[in-house]
Symmetry: C2
Subunit: 664 residues, 2 copies
């Protein structure tokens, strides 16, 4: 159990042997020597009518020395046996608990996300090696290879890494010819330790332009033992990607500084998570990386300038495997393998590959739209039959930049906002504070930080609520006429502003703020629409918003504002840091690497910059929620205002502006 | 011609295309673009009755722009055409000169040595790569891979090295989408340069305990462009191998010092040969290494202590491939691949593997004995059916150590010696001087250096000549009775000495010197005999003496003294630095690597230390030339003295000594 497989075996056969003969994979690191405790099983007691079996602990041999020794040293829960040393004595029903199964699963927090099968590229094997024999003077490595073949059936061992070869002879002798080896991809000895050992770790990295995140995982359980995030040290060369590329353009050799910057950051974060998890450098054997194309290139020491302009040529779209030392990484085993996920196109990087691995659109029957929104939005649409990807230049408005009172998501920033449709009065919440601004005690709780600005999710809600309250027209004009109804609408030269917070600083929404968000959301929607056109569809079945922005916004407001097309709101979700999850999946499951490499090759890449329809979609998408696209699902849950354009239309302005640009 | 292949092709077909269709491999780096000039052919003119062809230069299209441009830039000898641009216009006889054949051969100096097929693991390919296309945004590397498949049929390209990936984008653009790449093993891009390029180099290293030798080779022609030899910097940790192992035993971490020592030496020698050959670091893409097991381990950073005592376990007997940087090498391309030949057994290292590759006993019908004599003698015996190897502890006597007036082979050392059988007067030659000591002017020519001692080859000749002159008995006693005939025999306590040179210093042969050589040659012969026993043979067909010692001695004297068994003297030869030649073969020919790896696995390794017959053979072999083995071939050319033991026998002494040792 739970597989339900059954069979007949000679008396005195170890339960582990029976299980394997039945195709039930029970885990083992020590190879059936009663040391690792991974092969534990539970004996079912009672009459099992269905199986015509009366099962009891008497159906197995009593516990002998190895099991008792294991119990003394590490503890064996009542009812549990080591299947390698429990011998058949009669009919018995055996339960294999989840932690004894080879392919353990790591269940993810989100209910809809598929679990991760723990099957990492690095595996530990405990082996007993013959002592040297002058009559057969092969090397220690070759004798170890023979043992690995005999004891573990590993036939294709073809090499041993530098450090492992240097440690091998001492480990064999210190361990009295018993060692634990880490085998990479079933082919290469990556590390060796004397005696039995059950510790091997890996780190999954997500290198963002702003932050670098790392998760240190136990490669046998899949558990995350420590996580950390730091600012990307490259920030001193420029906040956004293009300013970093500009730095390289203006400073010959600047790419080396940027590469050193990110690698130093990685070394810092490796040190942090190692200490937190209590892990030694030599135990860290596997690393995986995701990042946008520019971060990808800088990590690998590749000059990113080609990515700074058309045709946005990547040095490589393939996955890359390097030794840790080749990436200048310290604090891991020197021969730890760093796997960098493949890139998809010049603007769609290994981070998007990670998002795909995490969200699995290539496995879905339903059409999924996945958008990872930052300064660029990476958009993936499709299902198991066909997948398209593009990047759309949303600009930094969604991150609070280019907004008059905008700021990054940090304590003091407005992140939630509601407007009373009758009084037109706003109420809001700031990051780091549970109270709404109209609740008792709010003033006191914000005394430390104050209200400092409005972040990306706040601006989305503010504009959507203004639209619902009639303060903002369909075409994105702040309605000056409403100044008759509320003193919060004020004239500002030829446009109007909406006052949110009259403190210090004053927080207002200006017409320029609206325009910045319109440009951003227009780009996002237009990229989405373009891919939908290519796919020949008018609606998607599911929408997933990935990334930090996606996990903070209320998806309903994103739809009201028209960032995303209409969809059943129950099927719109936030995936959080899906790119980082993808890196973690590639760390914990070797076949996930083959999977994403294969998927990336089949993805149809769309370059928005050269698509004639993009501009048209963009202009249409400037309106709120959209100039023409219907929102039937949204209309079911939100009372949308009538679509009515203001005479002095922003959309019209932008439209004219763009036509002028094209003509010139 | 010269293959004699013939065929019919449509008019206007390039001659290169015809040749390939016929299976005649004509070289090309540029892929038929008229740039590299490797595909030159010569048009045969006249009536070829045998082929029923009238051939003339008119049978080909006249020279066009590419050929004229090549002629202007690099020169095209009269009568030569670039086969890629010469089109068929009629019947023609084409000669493919040796330098246009893909598998060029490097002919070795020794007539009996097989030529080296030039087919290195690194190959250059000139390719034209498509420019990036935003409609198909694959990376530059992937586009290059497509071109390599289309233009060169290389299908299995699976990765690109770190440095090449970093240089790729700039090289493609600087070269206007034409680049030359170095491909490692047909699978991995190792380096990239803009435009056409025809330079790739490699270095073959022989790491001896005393000296490190290096040959820098052109990977396309196989030519040695520069050679150098330096003292192994490890010498400051001990002259011989065991003293270096002792250093590690007594100084924890000492192996790191020894490793740094040899690597520093390698970096020095790389710099020397690169400058001499006018080669840039980034052009050096391939390295091969041979060395004895301890040098092998220290090169790889492996603690050599296990090799210092039984069971003499090697860390690995397999070949090893590492990046240059992993071996701490500078001055080559950072991703140059270093290939270390396999070891055979604890005392029989990668140097012996090199000797085998050079001398090819595994390809021979005749039974070959190959001995590489140094402090240990590595002995290989067998033929294509069966091959055995052993190491025998000869000690340093053959290198002039443990000899009262012994010294290394250096200017001033006696290297040749003859004794007049009538007068019993010696004459000799010293290294660095063409004159014999009895020739007019000898005294003047040695004024600078003097006569400083006697080296390994000198001591062999001295003892052999003493034996032939009756000054030395069959059992190795200096004949005191001969003092009646010559004043050069003098008493020294209970033994006698033979005076060679009464200068300053005096150079004499003492009884202890004779004993040291007897021990050395007894060990060499006993090891040989042991392998012959295992093989069930009484005589060998060929003898090859490898190494510096083997190349300096006169093989006849080696046989008179009984270092080697009897053999037709015409079939006894010196191979010089055969180990180094083996490294050069592995550098220039990729399949030689597979060959030696396969051969090493089939070799039967014999450990003399645990063979009960070894001692017996050793004692028997102490006599001159041997106590019982016949020397019929030697007797044909040398008038051997009757075998007569002295009453006060050395052999008897040694024998008794050994019995005492065993009993205690």
């Amino acid at each position: 159990m739970p597989s339900g497989k059954r069979g007949r075996f000679p008396l005195q056969t170890p339960v582990l042997t029976c299980a394997r003969a039945l195709g039930v994979d029970i885990d083992s690191v020590c190879g059936g020597r009663g040391i690792c405790g991974r092969c534990q099983v539970i004996v079912g007691e009672g009459n099992f009518a269905k199986h015509a079996i009366t099962s009891s602990t008497d159906s197995l041999s009593p516990k002998g020395d190895p099991e008792n020794l294991y119990d003394t040293r590490k503890g064996l829960k009542p009812g549990r046996r080591l299947s390698c040393h429990a011998l058949l004595r009669g009919d018995v029903v055996i339960d294999v608990p989840p932690d004894s199964q080879v392919h353990k699963q790591v269940v993810r927090k989100r209910a809809e996300a598929r679990a991760i099968d723990v099957d990492p590229i690095i595996r530990l094997h405990y082996i007993v090696v013959d002592e040297p024999d002058m009559h057969d003077p092969i090397g220690d490595f070759e004798r170890l290879g023979r043992a690995l073949k005999e004891q573990w059936g590993i036939e294709q061992l073809d090499a041993i890494d530098t450090r492992a070869l240097q440690l091998l002879q001492k480990a064999l002798r210190d361990g009295d010819w018993k060692v634990t080896i880490a085998v990479n991809h079933g082919q290469q000895i990556n590390m060796v330790w004397p005696g039995f050992r059950d510790r091997a770790f890996g780190i999954a990295f997500d290198i963002g332009s702003t932050t670098i995140a790392a998760h240190l995982c136990d490669l046998s359980t899949g558990d995350v033992l420590a996580s950390s995030g730091i600012m990307n040290p490259q920030i001193r060369f420029g906040e956004d990607l293009m300013s970093r590329v500009s730095y390289v353009m203006m400073n010959p050799g600047g790419e080396a500084e940027l590469t050193a910057g990110v690698r130093n950051g990685l070394n810092d974060i490796i040190a942090t998570v190692s200490i937190e998890a209590g892990v030694e450098a030599e135990e860290i054997l596997s690393l995986t990386f995701v990042g946008n194309p520019i971060m990808h290139h800088l990590l690998l020491g590749i000059d990113p300038r080609e990515l700074g302009g058309a045709p946005f040529a990547l040095a490589t779209t393939s996955s890359i495997t390097r030794c840790a030392t080749e990436l200048g990484l310290t604090g891991t085993n020197q021969d730890a393998r760093a796997y960098v996920l493949p890139c998809i196109a010049g603007h769609v990087g290994a981070d998007t590959a990670g998002v795909i691995l995490s969200e699995g659109p290539h496995l879905s029957d339903e059409i999924m739209l996945i958008a990872d929104v930052g300064t660029n939005a990476e958009i993936v649409i499709g299902n198991k039959d066909r997948l398209l990807a593009a990047s759309s230049p949303t600009g930094p408005a969604f991150e609070g930049a280019q907004i008059s009172c905008g700021q990054r998501a940090a304590p003091g920033a407005i992140e939630r906002l509601r407007i009373d449709p009758d009084t037109l009065e706003p109420r809001f919440r700031v990051i780091g504070n549970e109270l709404w601004s109209n609740e008792v005690g709010f003033a006191e709780t914000i005394e430390g930080t104050g209200v400092t600005g409005i972040c990306g999710s706040g601006i989305i809600e503010a504009l959507a609520e203004m639209y619902l309250a009639g303060l903002l027209t369909h075409d994105g004009t702040i309605e000056g006429a409403m100044s008759a109804k509320t003193p919060r609408i004020n004239a500002d030269e030829r446009t109007f502003t909406y006052m949110i917070y009259a403190g210090e600083p004053e927080i207002r929404i200006t017409q320029n703020d609206v325009r910045a968000v319109q440009l951003a959301k227009g780009a996002l929607y237009a990229g989405t629409r373009l891919l939908m056109d290519k796919l020949g569809i008018d609606a998607v079945d599911q929408i997933t918003l990935a990334g930090a922005f996606g996990s903070h916004i209320d998806v309903k407001y994103a739809m009201i504002l028209g960032l995303i097309p209409d969809c059943d709101l129950a099927k719109v979700s936030s995936a959080g840091n899906a790119a980082g999850t993808g890196a973690r999946i590639a760390l914990l499951n070797r076949s996930a690497r083959d999977e994403i490499e294969a998927v990336v090759k089949t993805i149809e890449k769309v370059e928005t910059a050269i698509e004639p329809n993009f501009q048209e979609h963009f202009v249409e998408a400037m309106a709120i929620p959209h100039n023409s696209a219907p929102y039937p699902n949204l209309a079911k849950v939100v009372d949308l205002p009538e679509r009515k354009a203001n005479a002095n239309s922003n959309v019209g302005n932008v439209n004219r502006q763009r036509r002028r640009n094209r003509a010139s």
